[in-house]
């Protein structure tokens, strides 16, 4: 893939760009050798925050990270709003592994930074930082487990979907649990009545808990993970093979605070009907266990979120596993295979693929590289190109940073497309009920499933004509008529 060569190309281009742009405006480039001079100038002009930023840059390049952090934070606190200040503060915080502070500084840089290439790199970097932040949060949660358990606070209506445990003779099928987990999370998120935790957040915690996949289905694991994630509910289960072709999903939904199951579901299906089984589990969990109704549009989007090819789904699952393990090239190869088997893919696959590219690029770029890009493209030092205005409207939903994505539906263009494209089934059902009402709807359609299958309420459907009463005039109750035969005898009659 092209992106795999990007760091190499960048390393070739950066020196050339730097030389070409060397004489241009911006905060002057500084080196560690400038530190004594800058310290003296800062002491002489303590209100010149640009000098403080330059000092911080030089300290960063000289490896004086703590000093650089203090200097740059001081400049920012004093009101310096330059891109260089926030970029270098982000670089320093990242080197010091303060992922939260790095994220904040980089986010601010996206608002004020003037170098488009640097901002692109920072966006990718934020994906990587998001992963690191999740890991740090997971470790922190584990370290504070006792306190978290005692507090018992949860986010209302939140649910953590754990990957299922895998019990099957064919290990080739194991990646299904990762792909299914990803698909389920996407499906649960369709209902914006639920707060669904990100897969990366959950998987990171499980990895930090050093669990094997077999442990995912244990109630104790679920309750513990739920507490640490501060989720109100935990969805966990097991995927079991029944013979060569059939799979069974046994799911359990835990209420974390009560540490008790609030619903168990079991579905089985042939391998090629895997997606039907997953949809059944998700829809039944949302409705029957969590008590949340789905609009017709929401149910339709859940049903449409599937792949055409189970082999592609398996490849996607392997890709996710490699992604979680940090094997980006292997993950990319699996994603490419999935895409070749099912060119359409599914929504979450394109998100994961975008995230993978960002992670892969970010992992191949050091903080020094990023500082070089900023220098070469005018953020600091030279600045020959007129950079485009900062695009402050971009958010991180497209690159899958945990905690930054809006929960629920309609957050991406693909969502919108899926939402509008799938209206045919609803249309067909509604049309048919309009011309040929199904008598069983009143009994079998009394749940929210009815609304999803046919959004036109039964009450507004046409009643069948009552021919006898209509002939009789059918003012019904007003006159209480009973006969239909009408005989009018001509007065006098003919003999």
């Amino acid at each position: 893939m092209i992106h795999g060569t990007r760091p190499f190309v960048r390393r070739l281009l950066l020196p050339a760009m730097g030389l070409f742009l060397a004489a241009c405006a911006g905060l002057p480039e500084v080196q560690p050798v400038d530190i004594p001079r800058l310290e003296q100038e800062v002491a002489t002009s303590p209100d010149d925050t640009d000098l403080q930023v330059q000092l911080g840059m030089a300290q960063f390049k000289g490896g004086e990270l703590e000093a650089a952090r203090a200097t740059l934070r001081g400049a920012v606190d004093a009101g310096n709003e330059s891109g260089a200040a926030y970029l270098y503060l982000g670089l320093v915080e990242e080197e010091l592994e303060d992922w939260s502070a790095a994220r904040d500084a980089y986010n601010r840089y996206l608002d004020v930074g003037e170098s488009s290439p640097a901002r692109d790199e920072v966006r990718k970097r934020l994906t990587l930082i998001g992963r690191n932040l999740l890991r740090a949060q997971a470790r922190q949660a584990l370290a504070q487990e006792q306190e978290i358990t005692e507090t018992g606070a949860v986010a209302p209506q939140s649910i953590a979907v754990l990957p299922m445990a895998f019990f099957a003779s064919d290990p080739e099928l194991e990646p299904l649990i990762y792909a299914l987990s990803d698909m389920m999370i996407t499906d649960f998120k369709v209902s914006n009545a639920l707060v669904v935790l990100e897969r990366a957040q959950i998987q990171t915690l499980l990895d930090e808990m050093q669990l094997t996949s077999a442990g995912y289905a244990e109630a104790e694991t679920g309750a513990r993970a739920g507490r640490l994630l501060r989720a109100e509910h935990v969805f966990q289960g097991a995927l079991t093979s029944l013979g060569q072709q059939e799979l069974q999903t046994a799911a359990d939904v835990l209420n974390v605070q009560r540490a008790a199951s609030i619903g168990e579901l079991t579905e089985s299906a042939l391998l090629e009907q895997l997606f039907d089984m997953e949809k059944q589990i998700v829809i039944r969990t949302i409705r029957e266990v969590l008590g949340v109704e789905l609009t017709p549009a929401e149910e339709q989007r859940i049903l449409e979120n599937r792949m055409d090819n189970v082999l592609a789904f398996l490849a996607y699952g392997r890709g996710l596993r490699e992604l979680d393990d940090g094997n980006y090239e292997a993950a990319q190869a699996e994603f490419d295979l999935a895409l070749s088997l099912d060119p359409g893919g599914m929504q979450s696959m394109s998100i994961a693929s975008t995230e993978l590219i960002a992670l892969s690029d970010a992992a191949g770029t050091t903080t020094t590289d990023l500082a070089g890009i900023a220098s070469a493209t005018g953020e600091t030092g030279a600045g020959f190109f007129a950079p485009p205005p900062a695009n402050t409207t971009e958010d991180f939903s497209s690159i899958g940073i945990a905690g930054e994505q809006p929960v629920g539906a309609g957050s991406t263009a693909d969502d919108q497309q899926a939402a509008t494209l799938g209206g045919v089934l609803t249309t067909l059902t509604s049309l048919t009920e309009g011309v040929f009402p199904t008598a069983t709807l009143s009994e079998l359609g009394v749940g929210s499933a009815q609304q999803s299958q046919n959004p036109t309420p039964t009450e507004s459907q046409p009643a069948n004509r009552d021919p006898v009463q209509e002939v009789a005039g059918d003012s019904g109750i007003a006159e209480a008529q009973a006969r239909i035969r009408i005989v009018i005898q001509r007065p006098g009659g003919e003999q």
Binding site: G291, E304, T420, T440, P457, R465, A480, Q495
Partner: protein
């Protein structure tokens, strides 16, 4: 473009493999009763019904719906209670997803119901047939019939657009107990055009249906030409919190019908025929239904609606016109793998009598439905 194609594939796959491929059985106990102030042809009317419904997805794209019920209707009139009871017609409907864009249905109405009514039963049927009251059963039996329909739809510009047509061929039956009169309702054709669109989590559905009938015949003689019907409807389903709400409205216009009457001489021979125009009618239904959380995993699903009926006889008489407002709801309860839907609603409204006076009425609906899937 790629995303659209991908979504199309996903949708085709979804249609080819319906997720709701479960057998389902529903059994109900429904009661709807009204009391009327003085001035109408009855003091009270009630219907008690025990419906049984089964859904059988026999193949990936083929589903059968089977329905049967036992019902008893009662009308109180002048301190006497008139009854009509027995099984109603059973029906079987097969729905086949022929292609991703076409749904074909064929159904039969089996004459298992009590269609032959004596004079008291006919009066009960007459009262229960008033559209405004919304009784679910008023005929008990209308003879054998075969109905077929086909619907097709496309997705264009974010809209679902479609058209459907249905044709019902009806056979004759005997409506009067102790009389050999045979009655054949006219065959029926329906055409519907519909459009819908999802807006995020919400769905808007709008449609129009045209219904036309052939002549009804009594003893093989043309008797009645029912007026055409035009129905316009719209529904908007949207999310509010953890609940889903639907607001809907429908308007059914019914044109005048033409009743052919025979003019007999004193010997009973037909010497001429004439036509009498029956009433035209407009019925509007508007309502709101949704979900309110009660805590503990329970929800209350309120349902409020209003019906406005305007009738006009050929002579301008508006007998039968009126309104009805209903409010109530149900609380779904899960019991060991099954779902119970107890529902209660109260009704109040008025209806014009023959003297054009508005007569008040009160009603109550109590309903319990048990449904299970496997």
């Amino acid at each position: 473009m790629t995303g659209r194609v991908a979504a199309s594939f996903a949708f085709l796959f979804a249609l080819a493999q319906p997720a709701a491929a479960q057998y389902a059985i529903g059994v109900g106990a429904d009661y709807l009763g009204y009391t009327f102030d003085d001035g109408l042809g009855a003091d009270a009317a009630q219907l008690f019904m025990v419906p049984v419904a089964v859904r059988l997805p026999v193949a990936d794209r083929l589903t059968f719906d089977v329905f049967g019920a036992w019902a008893e209707g009662r009308v109180e009139q002048d301190n006497s209670v008139l009854k009509l009871n027995g099984p109603v017609d059973a029906s079987i409907k097969a729905s086949y997803q022929a292609t991703p864009w076409a749904l074909v249905s064929v159904g039969v109405n089996l004459p298992t119901g009590n269609s032959e009514h004596d004079s008291e039963e006919a009066l009960v049927a007459s009262v229960l047939s008033a559209d405004l009251l919304g009784f679910r059963e008023a005929t008990w039996g209308t003879g054998f019939a075969v109905t077929s329909s086909v619907a097709t739809a496309v997705s264009a510009g974010g809209f679902g657009l479609g058209v459907a047509a249905a044709y019902a061929a009806r056979s004759e039956f005997s409506p009067v107990a102790g009389d050999d009169l045979t009655y054949k309702p006219g065959n029926e054709a329906r055409v519907r055009v519909g459009i819908d669109r999802n807006f995020g989590s919400s769905t808007l559905t709008v449609g129009g249906t045209f219904i036309s009938y052939a002549q009804d015949q009594a003893d093989s003689q043309n008797l009645f030409q029912a007026g055409n019907r035009i129905r316009l409807d719209a529904a908007f389903a949207f999310r509010a919190g953890s609940g889903v709400w639907t607001i809907y409205g429908a308007n059914l216009m019914r044109q005048n019908g033409d009743l052919t009457v025979q003019i007999l001489d004193s010997g009973g021979s037909v010497v001429d025929t004439g036509e009498i125009q029956t009433a035209k009618q407009n019925l509007f239904v508007g309502g709101l239904m949704g979900t309110v959380g009660l805590g503990g995993g329970f929800v209350f699903r309120p349902h409020v609606d209003v019906k406005l009926q305007a009738r006009e006889e050929a002579d301008g008489n508006e007998v039968g016109s009126g309104y009805l407002i209903a409010a109530g709801g149900d609380i779904p309860i899960r019991i060991a793998g099954a779902e119970l839907f107890p529902k209660a609603r109260v009704y109040f409204g008025s209806i014009k009598n023959v003297a054009q006076d508005d007569v008040s009425m009160l009603g109550v609906e109590l309903k319990g439905t048990l449904r299970t899937s496997f």
